[in-house]
Amino acid sequence: MTARRLLFAAPLIGLAGGAAAFYAYMASGRDPRGVPSVLVGRPPPPFDLDPLFDGQPRLTKAAFTPGRPAVLNFFASWCAPCRIEHPQLLRLAREGVNLLGIAYKDRPADARRFLAELGDPFRLIGQDSTGRTAIEFGVYGVPETYFIDGSGIVRWRFAGAVTPEILDDQLRPLLRRYAS
């Protein structure tokens, strides 16, 4: 008889378990719409882009110098969130982080004006006017930021503006961990 009594509690226990699992998922802060990058754990795809500034070398995979971790940022002058994350990129540049930029579907003159206005944190900048290099990386919108470690492996991808919180909670620990 007690066994049958217990059976009455089964739906309630099941519901409580489901609610707990749901809460844990929501509290984990994982964005269910965030598309996981297949590039994490792999080397970046090959690419070869015209430099944004005359006289600079072309931006290719060779820019990921062995032993020197890099932060690669896809940006555009027409992208509003890029303005929000720009102070964080400038901060990283002041700290000596190896920042590489790719101007995504932007007119070179507009991209140059954007950087003249807000400051240029990048060591090298390539122009991806067709957006094809972005597709090779699996970019689905700007801004997107990648961290590539000293052995040339992508360790992190973030889609959206790198806020001070994202910088401190996600990118800085990686920069520390993979510091050469």
């Binding site: 598309v35 996981p36 297949v38 795809p45 579907k105 957006g131 597709i135 090779e136 689905y140 919108g141």
Partner: protein, 151 residues
């Protein structure tokens, strides 16, 4: 007259939804394959639309990419592999059957099986309907009276 024009415009809607002719491939068979593939690829900007439906810039780029791969001689599977190597399985509107998606695919079947098992045991244990007690003499008389009553 206006109504007629509006009605005609409505009927023309499917034609207006056709792809941008500048994007289309010359070869109709290849174009048909490209459209079929595009319908199965998620637009990552709008997420619940296929790239065939979407007006997003990235969706257009991916449509062109699909056509480019087909024109280069890729099979349908090769085109899908090309896109998933860059964007992951998430880009497929029909997820592939793998360990991580197994529950998604067999889940509904498991729920149905559990419900059927429960129903089977419940129905088997239910008392047979003929165990209902017959009417007493008094009840039978009252019933006869009610049925005979002309009013």
């Amino acid at each position: 007259m206006t109504r007629l024009a509006l009605a005609l415009l409505l009927f023309a809607a499917p034609a207006l939804a056709a792809p941008d002719p500048r994007e289309m491939l010359e070869n109709p068979a290849q174009e048909a394959r490209a459209r079929e593939i595009s319908k199965g690829l998620r637009c990552l900007v709008c997420q619940n639309q296929s790239i065939d439906d979407s007006n997003a810039e990235l969706a257009r780029d991916l449509r062109l990419l699909v056509r480019e791969r087909i024109a280069a001689g890729d099979s349908d599977d090769q085109v899908l592999a090309f896109v998933t190597r860059r964007y992951g399985d998430y880009v497929l509107l029909t997820p592939p059957f793998k360990a991580s998606t197994a529950l998604l695919w067999v889940g509904p079947g498991l729920v149905l099986l559990a419900a059927a098992t429960g129903a089977f045991f419940y129905l088997r244990r239910r008392p047979a309907p003929d165990s209902v007690a017959p009417l007493s003499d008094a009840e039978r008389k009252r019933l006869a009276k009610l049925l005979d009553d002309p009013a």
